[in-house]
């Protein structure tokens, strides 16, 4: 059984889900891909938008969430941090 995800793990899962969809994703798809409840997703999403990692866009198909450059950078930094954790046994 996997251990409970930390806050940072959830943020990373959300950003990676958007990245895997080519940088844009519908909110409902994000909820399923990141394995979150609607309320939890909204609470994290507010924070991500506030920190400039994600922006909301309105398209013909509906509301979309897009990854910013800062969001891409955060994903890279987070991956490095995870690798550092594993390498040093933390």
């Amino acid at each position: 059984m996997n251990s409970r995800r930390t806050r940072m793990d959830i943020v990373f899962d959300m950003l990676r889900a958007i990245q895997n969809k080519g940088g844009k994703i519908k909110p409902t798809h994000l909820m399923y891909k990141a394995n979150l409840s609607h309320s939890l997703m909204n609470s994290y999403l507010g924070e991500l938008v506030e920190k400039g990692l994600v922006i909301g866009e309105t398209e013909k198909t509906g509301k979309m969430l897009a990854l910013t450059d800062k969001g891409y950078d955060f994903i890279n930094q987070f991956k490095k941090m995870k690798e550092f954790e594993k390498a040093f046994g933390l």
Partner: protein, 231 residues
């Protein structure tokens, strides 16, 4: 009071340069761990950072202490006799003596403390009474090292061997270049401490130990580069 210097005269100052490398590497890794902590808020990241900063501080003290001692020795060399490779230094200046002893012992205590914290973090120990007991033992080892340097180097070697065993297990589980480099770096640092033990037989053992220590920190720097700096 007499003090003996383990370094051959031709190596004075060079060992301090080697230790500057250790200072830089421990500072880099400690800083990155602190950054990790700012994101994750995990105590293990903070404590690991603290361990590296303490080891960094111990090397800074060693460099400063060596500077005071070597300068004094060079002055004495000009003014008095030298006896082969082992030079007996008679300290006339009390202040430098206090500085040497204080710096010397504090360096050793801090180094052992850093290793103890690292050992606790890697083994996920949280027992505070046990930590206090281990802290007492390393303080004893530090005091004992004033009378016999073996107490310090054996304790440091033991800690580094235990830390290496954790990283070796980590390498066996993950089997990649970086985990191999981390394990190798701590193994090399362990070997350096073993070399220092044989200084009493030949001063060149100190030189070998310093080179091994430098190599250990360079390998650690390589792993840091691959993890953090390489794109």
């Amino acid at each position: 009071m007499y003090e003996t210097i383990f370094s051959p005269p031709w190596f004075y100052g060079i060992d301090s340069l080697f230790e500057v490398v250790g200072i830089i590497v421990t500072l880099l890794i400690g800083s990155y761990c602190l950054r990790l902590y700012s994101f994750s808020k995990k105590d293990t990241h903070r404590n690991f950072a603290v361990a590296f900063f303490i080891i960094c501080a111990s090397y800074v003290l060693k460099v400063l202490t060596n500077y005071v001692v070597y300068n004094s020795v060079i002055h004495q060399l000009l003014m008095s006799h030298a006896y082969g490779d082992a030079i007996a230094v008679i300290k006339a200046v009390r202040f430098s003596q206090v500085l040497f002893i204080g710096g010397f012992l504090l360096h050793r205590f801090l180094f052992l403390l850093g290793l103890l914290i690292m050992f606790y973090v890697l083994n996920h120990y949280r027992n505070r009474p046990n930590f206090a007991l281990h802290l007492y033992f390393i303080a004893l080892a530090t005091i004992a090292s004033y009378y016999s340097y073996l107490a310090y180097y054996l304790t440091a070697a033991l800690f580094l061997l235990l830390i290496f065993s954790v990283y070796f297990t980590n390498y066996k589980e993950k089997s990649n270049t970086i985990t191999m480099l981390v394990a190798l770096s701590f193994f090399t640092l362990f070997l350096s401490q073993l070399c220092y033990i044989f200084v009493i037989f030949d001063l060149r053992a100190y030189v070998v130990g310093e080179f091994l220590q430098l190599a250990g920190f360079i390998v650690l720097l390589c792993s840091y580069y691959l993890l953090v700096l390489k794109k």
